[in-house]
Amino acid sequence: MKNNKVIQVEGLTKMFGDFTAVDAITFDVKKGEIFGFLGANGAGKTTAIKMLIGISNPTSGKATVAGFDVLTNPNDIKRNIGYMSQRFALYDDLTVKENITFFGGIYGLSRKRIKEKSEALIEELGLENVASQLVGSLPLGWKQKLSFSVSLIHDPKIVFLDEPTGGVDPITRRQFWEMIYKAANQGTTVFVTTHYMDEAEYCDRVSIMVDGRIEALDTPKKLKEQFQAESMNDVFLKLARG
């Protein structure tokens, strides 16, 4: 049972001077789960994620990701996770293929594996006709989907998505979530932050952060019961307004 938990967080805290950005949060995430990490802007989501992916050191508390401690083994964590940030993060001046090859390369994939991966990925996304075009010329929705696929290129155990669907049209959002489900079905744990409350409904479990603390954590269904709310949107508003 314990091995089933790919993320375990206990009392994780981050202070910037006197300001407590993340205040002793405790939770865990199971393998293959889609875990929604919600909170208003400035609630501390991004800071928390940065600690989990090993690019920011916690002030106190403990966390293990993919079985490795964030304080002592951040480099082992990096090998086992994928990450897609809220800002689009492929290279606009590289072609679709070159981007895939580059990111496959920095994760240490063999040339053969990169070739297989990039062919499969391009076919899956239907990008055959634009594979040799610069990514900058693609519409945003395509870029986001490509960016997500690239973050999965090394078959990570966990993928962290920080507001992946910001600024994307509803149809693309829908397709994006289909990709998320597919990844989760294949056993990848998905840790996702979002502003769209309808997306929160798609998650297996949801945590809601307010002022650096996790104020609620459960399945969307139970949260709605607990807060006697119609939708996740209502749950969120009730919590965020205190």
Binding site: G54, I55, N75, R87, E98, G105
Partner: protein, 381 residues
């Protein structure tokens, strides 16, 4: 087991690194602006400076003060007048007139033949001409002197053809207004310094901040690449390009402007690589303190270019600066590199004369790298 693992690991690390550098070259070659700064600018600058400070002189007005008025002086004067380089504007008769013709700006040089020129030449096999030049434009003054000397030597050779004891015409050169000729040949070392600084520091700081601005830096830091690998990967292409630039500049200087390189080319190359690394370290440092490409560019231009142009001794001689500025000039890496370049190119000296400057540059490089590592860590916290 362990031993086996290490080479495999190193191999994949190397592949990763090469992939990274390849990507960096894509960035550079697909961006017209950076390509222009990289290769257009150096060539444009060196040609501009080169032709603006040209060594060619034509029909320069000179004055003659002939105390002797004999056959020999007449022959020499005729020779000078016949050359296309000089035209004799005035014949003056008194020493006092020298200052006044210079002050009026009528001539660039005065030839002063000593009394009994011919007689001395026959009696002592030696006679003296004073070549006085207006060195407010030091480059021209130097060139004039060289040309006149050449004409005199030519004449001397003809004179000595069938004579056992050679006649010697001794030109005594005197530069008025700027006797030390501080800026002669300064432009090549100066331009080279500016370009290497510009390419290395500005381009790297911009390319690193660009990754920060686009959010790709975050992705790279989350990848298994270590932060120092990311930085080195970004810097290596610019080392290559800067070395190519240095070679282009030296070639242009030698073949188009006849700049002498007296010293060892290998030493010149090594010192250039050192200065390139100094500049790259500065570029990394700038990238750690600037959030956007614009900021990086402004800091590079204002913080590096201006001091290099104004305080390095490139244009304004350091020795004539006020004391506080002279002291400040010591912390500018370009100053030391210009000294090194001048020493190797013009004086042809070896390491034993420039080890101090080299050591200073090396120290600065280590300091900048240490500082950026520290800054970089703070940012990651």
């Amino acid at each position: 087991m362990k031993i086996k693992e290490i080479p495999a690991f190193a191999g994949s690390e190397m592949k990763r690194f090469i992939g990274f550098i390849k990507k960096e070259f894509y960035h550079i070659f697909r961006d017209r602006r950076s390509l222009f700064i990289l290769f257009g600018m150096p060539i444009a600058q060196i040609l501009l400076f080169g032709f603006a400070i040209t060594n060619e002189i034509n029909n320069v007005d000179i004055a003659i003060l002939d105390h002797s008025k004999d056959n020999t002086t007449e022959e020499i004067i005729n020779k000078i007048a016949a050359s296309k380089y000089f035209s004799i504007k005035q014949l003056i008769t008194r020493e006092a007139d020298i200052a006044s013709v210079f002050q009026k700006g009528q001539v660039k040089a005065v030839l002063n033949f000593e009394k009994d020129f011919s007689k001395n030449l026959i009696k002592d096999h030696k006679a003296t001409i004073q070549v006085i030049t207006d060195a407010t434009d030091p480059n021209t003054a130097n060139t004039i002197t060289n040309y006149i000397n050449a004409i005199l030597q030519q004449y001397q050779k003809e004179l000595n053809k069938d004579i056992t004891i050679a006649y010697q015409i001794i030109p005594q050169t005197r530069m008025v207004y700027n006797p030390e000729l501080k800026s002669v040949y300064m432009f090549v070392p100066g331009v080279m310094t500016i370009i290497l600084m510009l390419v290395s520091a500005m381009m790297t700081s911009i390319s690193i901040t660009r990754e920060k601005e686009l959010g790709t830096m975050e992705i790279l830091l989350v990848s298994p690449l270590r932060p120092f690998q990311v930085i080195i990967g970004k810097v290596v292409p610019y080392i290559f390009l800067s070395i190519i630039n240095a070679i282009v500049i030296v070639m242009l200087s030698i073949f188009i402007f006849n700049m002498p390189v007296q010293g060892s080319l290998i030493l010149l190359g090594l010192e250039s690589v050192l200065f390139i690394i100094t500049s790259l370290a500065l570029g990394i440092l700038i990238s750690t303190i600037s959030a956007t490409q614009q900021t990086a560019m402004m800091i590079s231009l204002m913080g590096l270019m201006l001091p290099v142009i104004l305080l390095s001794g490139f244009i304004f001689p350091i020795s004539s600066m006020p004391m506080p500025l002279q002291i400040i000039s010591n912390i500018i890496p370009a100053k030391w590199f210009i000294i090194i370049l001048k020493a190797i190119m013009l004086k042809g000296v070896g390491m034993q004369f420039i080890w101090k400057e080299t050591l200073i540059l090396l120290g600065m490089t280590v300091f900048f790298i240490a500082l950026s590592v520290k800054k970089y860590k703070i940012r990651l916290e």
